[in-house]
C-alpha cells in the first residue's frame, strides 16, 4: 500500500492507469488474443463475435493483405498466395523443410529462413506471422479502446532460439511490445492456476487442428521445467475429418475420398467436420453428400462407430505420450495433473482415451481452444504491472540444452548448464594457450556432449587485440546471458586491457524437437565415452603445453644445463612428441608427460635460481628487507 502525501486543492495526482496487456496464442491453425479485465481473463472476439482467427494470410495483387476467415475461404482458388500454417516455416531454412515439395508455395532460399514468392513479392514467414499478429492487435485495440502496452506470445516448448527470435521479430513488425515468450504448455498450466501449487508434474495433451503436442512439465519452487516434449506435427482434428469422410465413401461404395471431384471432396470434408463436432454433444450425427448424378447420399455415424474408425489416430497420440513419459523417465503414476488443450480434445474419444491412459480426470474447465491464450493473458497482466502485490509471481522457464564454448582439443566447456532457470547470466575465465597470442576464437555451442563435434554450433566470433603476454597469464572473461525469452548473448572481455567482443546468438537454422530429445539421449548414453575422450583430449592439450613451455625455456636457458641433462630432456621431449603424433592412448600419453615433467624438475630449479641470482645482482641484503 503506497503512502500518500497531502496535495494542494484540486491537484492530487491521478494514480497510474490500468495498462492494457494481452496474451496471444499464435497457433498453426488458429490464433487468438485474450486479456484480463476486472480480474477475469477472457478471449476477445472480432466484430462478428468469432474468437478464433484462422492463421491464414492471403496476399492480393496491389499489396493487399487479407487475414483470417476470408483468407481461408479463398485457399482453394488462390493457393499460391494464401499462406496457411506459416508457423511451420518460422525460423526454418529451405533445407529444413522436408515437406516443402507437397506445398503449393514457391519457396525461395532466404538468408537463414525460407521466403515465399507471392503476388506481392517475396514474403518471409516473419512477415506473414506479423500480418496475423497485426490483425489480433487491431482487434484488441478496438475492443479495449487503447494501444496495448505489451503482450505475451506463446510458442511450442520445443521451439529453438531461431524460431523464438523469428516470433519476436514478427511481433516487433506488427508493432507489439513483447513482454515475454511463454511456452504453450506452461501457459495452459498457468491458466488452470497449477503454478499456485507448491510442486507437481503435469502432462499437457494438446490436440489442435493440425498438430499434436504432448509436454511433461515439472513445477518446483515456482519454476516450470519442461521435462520432455513429443508429438506429431502432422496429426490433428483435420485427420479425424478425413477418416469420417473415408468411412462415408466406404459406406457408399465410393473408391475413397480422392475419387471424388475437388468440390465434392471439400463439401464431404465439411460435412465430416460438422458430424465430428455434433458427436461431441450427441450420440449420433448425420452426414449427407450430393454426388455427381445429383442424388443425395446419406449416412448416420454413431459415437461408437467414430471411436472405432478413429482408434488408430488416438493410439498414435498415446504412443507419443508414452514416449514423452519415457524420455522424462517417469511413469503414469508420477503425473499429478493432466490438462487438455486444443479444440480436438472436445471429442469424447480423445477425452476418454486420455482419462483411461492417465487413470485420472483431466482438467478441462477452460475452453480448450482458449486455455493457452488465457494463461498468456494472465502472465501479460502481471508483467505489465497490473497484478496485486500478493500474486506478484514471475514465471520462469528453463533452457533446454546446455550452452558452452569450445576449448583446446575440441572439447566443450559448459557455461550455462541445461535446465538453468531463465533469465540467467554466467561467466567463466579463460586464458591464452600460446605465448604472445593476440586473438582468440570463440565458438558457442549447444548440447550435452563433451566434444564439440557432437554438439550444435550456434555462433563463432573472435576477440582481437589481446595484449601479447606469456601463455596462461591473460584473463579473458566470457559471459553468457540468456534473457527471459531464451535468447542468448555472449561477451568476451580481456580483463587487463578491457577490450571486448560481443555477439547476439541468432542461429541461422534451428533444432527440431526430436533433435533436442535425441541430443539429450545421445548425451546420456555416450557420457562414459565422452569422459574418456575428454580425458584424452585434456592430456593431449597438457602435453602440448608442456612441450611448448620446455622448448621456450630451453631456447632461453639451455646454457644452464649439463650436456647429459640436456640430452635427457630432449629425449623425453621426443618421446612425448612422438606419443602425441601417433595418437597414443591416454595412459601412454600421461606416462610420457610425467617423464618430461620429472626430467625438467631440475632444470626448472636451475632456472629459478638463475633468475633470482639475476634479480639480486648488485643488491645488498639490506635493500631487500
Amino acid at each position: 500500500m503506497a503512502l500518500l502525501q497531502i496535495s494542494e486543492p484540486g491537484q492530487s495526482a491521478a494514480p497510474h492507469q490500468h495498462r492494457l496487456a494481452a496474451g496471444i496464442d499464435l497457433g498453426t491453425t488458429n490464433s487468438l488474443i485474450a486479456t484480463v479485465q476486472s480480474a477475469v481473463a477472457r478471449a476477445l472476439p472480432d466484430e462478428q463475435g468469432a474468437l478464433l482467427l484462422p492463421s491464414v494470410v492471403r496476399y492480393l495483387p496491389g499489396n493487399g493483405v487479407v487475414v483470417g476467415r476470408e483468407a481461408q475461404a479463398s485457399q482453394s482458388e488462390d493457393p499460391q498466395n494464401t499462406i496457411v500454417s506459416v508457423k511451420r516455416f518460422m525460423g526454418r531454412s529451405l533445407a529444413d523443410l522436408k515437406e516443402a515439395d507437397g506445398l503449393p508455395y514457391q519457396f525461395t532460399d532466404g538468408a537463414g529462413m525460407v521466403g515465399i514468392n507471392t503476388v506481392c513479392g517475396e514474403r518471409s514467414p516473419i512477415q506473414v506471422s506479423a500480418a496475423i499478429l497485426t490483425a489480433l492487435r487491431e482487434r484488441a485495440e478496438a475492443s479495449l479502446g487503447g494501444p496495448l502496452a505489451g503482450v505475451v506470445i506463446t510458442v511450442p516448448a520445443y521451439f529453438d532460439d531461431a524460431q523464438r527470435q523469428a516470433t519476436k521479430d514478427a511481433a516487433r513488425l506488427a508493432g507489439l511490445t513483447v513482454l515475454r515468450l511463454l511456452n504453450e504448455p506452461t501457459a495452459a498450466a498457468v491458466a488452470y492456476g497449477l503454478d499456485k501449487a507448491a510442486e507437481g508434474t503435469f502432462a499437457i495433451y494438446d490436440l489442435g487442428g493440425g498438430t499434436f503436442d504432448i509436454s511433461i512439465l515439472r513445477l518446483s519452487k515456482g519454476v516450470f521445467e519442461v521435462l520432455a516434449t513429443g508429438g506429431d506435427s502432422a496429426l490433428g482434428g483435420d485427420d479425424f475429418d478425413q477418416v469420417i469422410a473415408e468411412w462415408f465413401c466406404r459406406q457408399h461404395g465410393i473408391d475413397g475420398l480422392a475419387a471424388l471431384a475437388p468440390g465434392a471432396q471439400r463439401s464431404l470434408l465439411m460435412a465430416a467436420r460438422a458430424a465430428k463436432e455434433a458427436l461431441s454433444l450427441h450420440e449420433t450425427a448425420a452426414l449427407s453428400l450430393t454426388v455427381a448424378d445429383g442424388t443425395a447420399r446419406q449416412a448416420i455415424l454413431s459415437r461408437a462407430q467414430f471411436a472405432e474408425i478413429s482408434a488408430a489416430l488416438i493410439e498414435q497420440t498415446l504412443r507419443a505420450t508414452k514416449r514423452a513419459l519415457r524420455d522424462a523417465q517417469l511413469i503414469v503414476d508420477d503425473i499429478t495433473g493432466v490438462v487438455l488443450v486444443g479444440g480436438s480434445t472436445r471429442m469424447p474419444v480423445a477425452r476418454d482415451a486420455v482419462r483411461a491412459f492417465f487413470d485420472r480426470e483431466p482438467l478441462d474447465g477452460i475452453d480448450p481452444d482458449q486455455v493457452v491464450a488465457i494463461g498468456a493473458a494472465l502472465q501479460a497482466n502481471i508483467l505489465a504491472g497490473n497484478g496485486a502485490a500478493e500474486d506478484d509471481w514471475l514465471l520462469l522457464d528453463v533452457c533446454p540444452l546446455s550452452l558452452g564454448i569450445e576449448t583446446m582439443g575440441g572439447l566443450v566447456e559448459k557455461i550455462i548448464p541445461r535446465n538453468s532457470t531463465l533469465p540467467v547470466a554466467r561467466a567463466q575465465e579463460f586464458t591464452t594457450f600460446k605465448d604472445g597470442q593476440t586473438a582468440m576464437s570463440l565458438h558457442v555451442v549447444q548440447g550435452e556432449r563433451e566434444s564439440v563435434a557432437h554438439c550444435r554450433s550456434l555462433a563463432r566470433f573472435e576477440l582481437r587485440g589481446i595484449p601479447p603476454a606469456v601463455a596462461g597469464s591473460v584473463h579473458i572473461r566470457v559471459s553468457f546471458q540468456i534473457d527471459a525469452d531464451g535468447l542468448l548473448s555472449v561477451t568476451a572481455r580481456e580483463q587487463g586491457s578491457g577490450i571486448e567482443a560481443h555477439i547476439e546468438v541468432k542461429p541461422t537454422y534451428g533444432l527440431a524437437d526430436d533433435q533436442i530429445t535425441s541430443m539429450l539421449k545421445d548425451a546420456a548414453s555416450a557420457s562414459r565415452e565422452d569422459m574418456a575422450l575428454r580425458s584424452l583430449r585434456e592430456a593431449q592439450v597438457d602435453a602440448r603445453r608442456l612441450l611448448d613451455a620446455t622448448s621456450s625455456a630451453l631456447a632461453e636457458d639451455a646454457a644452464l644445463l649439463s650436456e647429459v641433462d640436456l640430452k635427457a630432456i630432449q629425449h623425453t621431449m621426443f618421446v612425448l612428441a612422438d606419443a602425441l603424433e601417433t595418437d597414443a592412448a591416454l595412459e601412454a600419453l600421461r606416462t610420457a608427460s610425467a617423464a618430461l615433467s620429472r626430467a625438467t624438475d631440475g632444470f626448472a630449479a636451475l632456472r629459478m635460481n638463475a633468475s633470482i641470482a639475476k634479480a639480486l645482482e648488485g643488491r645488498t641484503m639490506d635493500s631487500l628487507t
Partner: protein, 107 residues
C-alpha cells in the same frame, strides 16, 4: 458516518498546515481512476463546499464530499513511516482489494 485520524496523522496534518501557512483542514476523497477502479485523494482545504461533511479529530477538521463518504465511512487515516518513506495510509473497511502499487482499490 464517520472518518477519523490517528494521533500521528493529527500531528502531521497540524505541522503541514502550519508549514503551508494557511488552510482550514484536510480533504479526503475518492476518485474513479487507477487500475483497480478507485483511488484516494488527500488535499488541503481552503474552502468548504455546501454539501461537504465535516468531522473533527483532536482539533483537525476532516472534510469529505458526500459521494466519497459512502466509500470512506469508517476509515481511519494513519501517518506511518515505512523504511525511508513516510506518508498517510488509509485503513478503509470498505476496500476489498488493493492493486499492486497500492494507489487504488476496489469496493
Amino acid at each position: 458516518m464517520s472518518v477519523s485520524l490517528t494521533p500521528a496523522a493529527v500531528n502531521h496534518v497540524k505541522k503541514s498546515l502550519a508549514k503551508r501557512g494557511g488552510g482550514i483542514g484536510l480533504r479526503l476523497a475518492v476518485k474513479t481512476s487507477g487500475c483497480n477502479g478507485f483511488a484516494y485523494a488527500l488535499e488541503f482545504v481552503d474552502a468548504v463546499a455546501a454539501d461537504d461533511e465535516c468531522f473533527e479529530t483532536l482539533g483537525v477538521m476532516v472534510v469529505v464530499d458526500p459521494r466519497s463518504l459512502g466509500m470512506l465511512d469508517g476509515t481511519e487515516l494513519d501517518f506511518v513511516r515505512e523504511g525511508l518513506n513516510e506518508g498517510f495510509k488509509f485503513n478503509n473497511p470498505n476496500a476489498k482489494a488493493n492493486c499492486g502499487c497500492g494507489e487504488s482499490f476496489a469496493v
